[in-house]
Subunit: 213 residues, 2 copies
Amino acid sequence: MERTEKIPKATITRLSLYCRQLELLEFDGYRMVSSEKLARLCQVNPAQVRKDLGYFGEFGIRGVGYEVKELQEEVKKILAINREWRMGIVGIGNLGVALLRHENFPARGFHFIAAFDSDPDKIGRTLRLGFVIRDVNELKEASKDLEMDIGVITTPAAGAQATADRFIDAGINAILNFSPAQIHVPEYCIVENIDFTIKLDILTYKLKNEIGI
Amino acid sequence: MERTEKIPKATITRLSLYCRQLELLEFDGYRMVSSEKLARLCQVNPAQVRKDLGYFGEFGIRGVGYEVKELQEEVKKILAINREWRMGIVGIGNLGVALLRHENFPARGFHFIAAFDSDPDKIGRTLRLGFVIRDVNELKEASKDLEMDIGVITTPAAGAQATADRFIDAGINAILNFSPAQIHVPEYCIVENIDFTIKLDILTYKLKNEIGI
DNA sequence: CATTGTGAACTCATTCACAGCG
DNA sequence: CGCTGTGAATGAGTTCACAATG
C-alpha cells in the first residue's frame, strides 16, 4: 500500500463505486473483470480505474484482468470497510429516524449504537428498533462506554455547529453532517457533508443552462 | 452572464454555499460582505470566491465588497433557484417519507407534487401531508398534467435504473438519485447522486489513513 | 486606500500511449 | 496476444499577485 504519492480525493470516491460494482459482479457470477468493463459500469475512463488501483498496489493479471472477489477484498481493505463501525446520531427528526431504520447501513457494517436529541418530548422515547432517545447533554458521558467511531448530525442547520462541538468534545473526530450548515472543526477532525439542497441547486443550474427550461 | 468560458462544476457547488451564507448574513443584519469574509464562512480561498463570481459578472464594489442582499439575488438567479420547482418522488420507504416531510425543500422553493411506489400495500395510502401514494405504473400518464421538473429516486438500488427509465420515458430529464446505484441515462438527462455510503467510505478511509484508527 | 477583478503561475487530476508481462 | 501498470502529455481548477477603481 503506497503512502508516498498523494492520492486524489476523487480516487477514494471512485474506489467506493468500484467496490459496489464488484459486489454486483460477484453476485452475477463473474470471476474476472477487466478495467474496461469495470470502468463502463462506473462510467469512468478505463485508465482511471487502473491508475486509481495503481496507487495502492498491483492487483491485476496482465492480459487477463482482475479477480472480482480478490479485488473487492483489496478495495474494502483500502477503504477500511472490512470491519464494523459504530455510529452515534444527534437529531431524531424525520431524517434521523429514516437513517436509523435504513437497512443499507448495518448491511455494510455501519451500526447506529446511540441516538440523541435535545427535545424533551423526544428524550426517553423508544423507537421501533429498541433505541431509546437520549438527552444530547449525556453525549459526552455516554460516549465513554460506547466507543463511537463516527458522529452523524441530522439536526436542523441552527444546531449543527453545537452538535459538532459536542462530538469533538466527546472525542469523536469523524462526522457525517446531513444538515445544510457549514460546520467548523479543528483540523484533526474529519467532516463529510451530505447536503441535499446543494445537489438540487446544481440540478436547477444545469436545467437552466444545459437544457434551457 | 458569461457563456463563453467553461465553468467548473465545483464553482456551482460553491455558489450554492455562498447563497446560504448570504442568507445567514442578511438574517444577521449585514448589509455588505467582503470576499475575504464570505470565503472564511464557506471555508474557501477569497480569490476563489471572486473568481467564481467573476464567471457570471461583476457584482462587487472595489474597495468595499458586495451588497449582501443584491449578491444573494444574483446568485439565486444564476442557480435558477429564484423560482419554484416541481418534484415527483418514487420509492416511499423511510427515506422517501422523510424527504416528503422535510421542511427545507418547500422553504427553498422545491415542492413535491406527487409520490409513487410499486408496493401494492402502499399504493392508495394517504400520507400525513395529504399525499396519496400512486402506482408507479401511472407515472407517465400522471406526469402529463403534473409538469414535473425533477424526479427523485428513493427506491432500493435494485429498482433505481427502472425508475430512471420511467422518468425519462415520462419526459423528465433531471434526476436526483438517493439510491446507491449507478444509473445510466441518455446524455440529455441530468443526474445528481446523493450516496450516503460513499461518504461513509470516505470517512473510514480517512479515519484509517489520516488518523490511524 | 481597501477590495475587487483577472491574467499568469501553479497545483492537482485525468487521459493517452505504450512498454511490460502473464 | 491482450490487458495491466505507468511515465509523459494534456487538461482542469485553484491560488497568486497586482493592476484597476469606486
